[in-house]
């Protein structure tokens, strides 16, 4: 789950991480009492909005409305701006960076900081990036914070405020099941306060059940992807035109890759996972048809998911939706023979290997046999 800046800041504030005052607006006429002078900030789930013109200053109420009117509805890297956040302008003395993520290899949370805040952390030279591992079993120990502060070379008073932010951010990271907490910049103001200038928060989708309060937040999904998500189906829309339905993430990716090698492009990635419920397969297939693929490639290696269960679901969905999309099927594993028979009965073309299936799908799409 990704969070818009204003929502992330609301959560930060709950953990007593200082954030600037701000108000949210969806229409220019909603702008009534912004904290002037302010920054008008586009609320989108994508980085780089500053460079794209999605963050601009305003001095007066009128100007704030004007700027808000210009930013609302903007397209930022494919994301339409539906809301702006009007935020108190900070007097910036210094910009730091603070991030918490996981180090997969170390199997530990990783705390990152640099005195070179405000720029993309990928662009910070490695030697200027301070990194500290935190063993989750024992939690954040004071030495980690000491080591970080030493590297940042801050005045004592500022250092204490930063230390508090680090502790609270780690607390948030753990309790909210975050996969990323990022404050960039963490601003030191002329008045000597430490404030989160921006807030990025990503929460583990697998922990959704522990955070029901976040259900229904606008996510980075197409309407069909959202519908699939609500039904518990792994469904990703891509920019090609061939629909791929397979069981298991790795096999689905491998099928898309094979299509690409044969000169085709996948339009939908549909992973049936380990389901063995014909109804679920039917639902998944209906979603696939709604994406209007030119050809559908079914690739099943039956195990927990029995091949004939998938075939039955595919048949039912095609018949009920009166769809006439050509289907290429490549079936192996448990109940292979029964599945092949069902798919033959609906006129699908069979292939033995993934390569052959991909080649056939590409041919069919370009009006081949």
């Amino acid at each position: 789950m990704k969070f818009l800046e204003h929502k992330a800041k609301e959560i930060f504030a709950r953990y007593e991480i200082p954030v600037p005052r701000g108000v949210l607006a969806s229409r220019p006429e909603d702008v009534v009492d912004p904290p002037l002078p302010c920054m008008v900030k586009a609320q989108v789930l994508v980085g780089g909005r500053g460079k794209a013109g999605g963050i601009r200053p305003a001095e007066t109420l009128e100007e704030t409305r004007e700027v808000a009117a210009q930013i609302l509805g903007m397209d930022i890297h494919g994301y339409r701006v539906k809301q702006v956040y009007l935020e108190e302008r900070l007097h910036i003395r210094k910009e730091l960076y603070l991030g918490l993520t996981i180090d997969r290899s170390a199997r530990e949370p990783l705390l990152m900081a640099t005195a070179m805040g405000g720029i993309d952390v990928e662009e910070v030279p490695r030697e200027d990036l301070l990194m500290e591992h935190i063993p989750a079993m024992v939690g954040l120990q004071p030495y980690v914070v000491r080591s970080l502060l030493r590297g940042l070379a801050l005045d004592r008073d500022i250092g204490e405020q930063v230390a508090a932010v680090v502790r609270r951010a780690y607390d948030l990271f753990r309790k909210e099941d975050a996969e990323l907490v990022e404050i960039n910049p963490l601003v030191v103001t002329d008045e000597g306060h430490v404030v989160a200038g921006d807030a990025k928060l990503v929460v583990d989708d697998n922990a959704e059940y522990r955070h029901p309060e976040y259900a229904g937040l606008d996510q980075d999904r197409t309407p069909l992807e959202q519908e699939a998500h609500d039904k518990g189906i792994v469904f990703i829309q891509l920019d090609g035109d061939i629909g791929v339905i397979a069981n298991g993430a790795g096999l689905t990716m491998a099928t898309l890759d094979a299509l690409n090698l044969k000169g085709g492009r996948g339009g939908v990635f549909l992973d049936l996972g380990g389901t063995d419920d014909p109804e679920k397969v039917k639902q998944a297939f209906e979603l696939l048809i709604k994406a209007h693929p030119s050809v559908i490639l079914v690739n099943i290696f039956g195990g927990i998911t029995k091949a004939d269960t998938v075939a039955t679901g595919v048949k039912q969905a095609l018949e009920e939706m009166h769809a006439t999309i050509p289907v290429v099927a490549r079936i192996k594993g448990v109940n292979e023979a029964a599945a092949k028979e069902i798919l033959r009965s609906i006129g699908s073309q069979a292939a033995e290997t993934i390569e052959d299936a991909a080649e056939l799908a590409v041919k069919l799409k370009s009006g081949g046999p």
Binding site: R104, E108, M137, D257
Partner: protein
């Protein structure tokens, strides 16, 4: 020999009374595995497929000498079940369950390792050593006993590749599904270390995918420490950045974790990379 799982394993199935637990208990026994006990809290005294069920893992260890556990437990209960197994003295814990919050894994996986317990998974198809036993869900029929070790981040893609290998005459010493999550109990380098040491294993197949840097680390390790021939496959060369491709760990972030980077790392380490899954068998024939 084989790695991780041999005939000595006495397996307890946690979550044995569920649909999956029951189905795979039968399949694992058909494969020759000694399934000695099941655990489902509140179901002690019953039997599943003739296997006695206990309330606690401790009882399975005391009364049935279980020394390895496989979990078919719903995601919210995995941390509890895994720690229970570790505390009961089990030395190998295989976690099939997917969609476990990774903060749970950050807690119990390092804990298991500190206790000298090997964890396989989560979000994995398990391990199988043909002729020895299976703790997992991979269909029995696709295996063939042999001398090739398999390490994979994927489930059904592993079936695909093992099937192609068996058809081509390359049997398996052990097949280890390390799982598709960002944090796994046993990673690629650790699995490679085991296969490099194993006398029965003469060559190794690595099945990777986008996300993280496990393949790059594996390639580096192969260059330095692995003398046996290795071939690889990497899924996700057409995956767009920022999209999570079904597995929690399969995501290209900040330009890292691409298939190109992994393929290049393997090539630099002298590891041939198959374009299609089935081609792994062809590459093995050339080693």
């Amino acid at each position: 020999m084989a790695v991780l799982l041999t005939k000595k394993a006495r397996v307890v199935v946690q979550g044995i009374t569920g649909h999956q637990g029951q189905f795979h208990t039968r399949a694992m026994r058909d494969f020759g595995t000694k399934v000695v006990a099941g655990v489902t809290p509140g179901k002690a005294g019953s039997k599943i497929e003739g296997v006695p069920v206990f309330d606690r893992v401790r009882d399975a260890v005391l009364k049935r000498k279980a020394n390895a556990s496989i979990l078919f437990v719903p995601a919210p209960y995995v941390k509890d079940a895994a720690v229970e197994a570790i505390e009961a003295g089990v030395k190998l814990v295989v976690i099939i369950t997917e969609r476990i919050p990774f903060h749970d894994c950050l807690d119990f996986i390092p804990y298991a390792r500190s206790k000298g317990v090997t964890v396989i998974g989560p979000n994995c198809p398990g391990i199988a050593s043909p002729g020895q036993g299976k703790m997992g869900i991979i269909p029995n029929l696709i295996f063939k006993e042999g001398d090739t070790g398999v390490i994979s981040r994927s489930g059904t893609l592993t079936y695909e590749i093992v099937y192609a290998m068996s058809q081509a005459g390359f049997g398996q010493s052990t097949c280890v599904g390390i799982g598709g999550d960002p944090i796994n109990g046993t990673n690629m380098v650790e699995a490679l270390t085991l296969f490099q040491k194993d006398r029965k294993t003469r060559r190794i197949v690595l099945v990777g995918e986008i996300g993280g840097t496990a393949e790059e680390e594996a390639a580096d390790f192969i260059k330095k420490r692995v003398t046996k021939p290795v071939v690889a496959y990497v899924a996700g060369r057409t995956a767009p950045p920022g999209k999570r491709m079904g597995h929690a760990g399969a995501i290209i972030q900040g330009g890292r974790g691409t298939a190109e980077s992994k393929t290049k790392a393997f090539a630099d380490a002298g590891v041939p990379v198959a374009q299609y899954p089935g081609e792994v068998a062809t590459l093995l024939a050339a080693t």
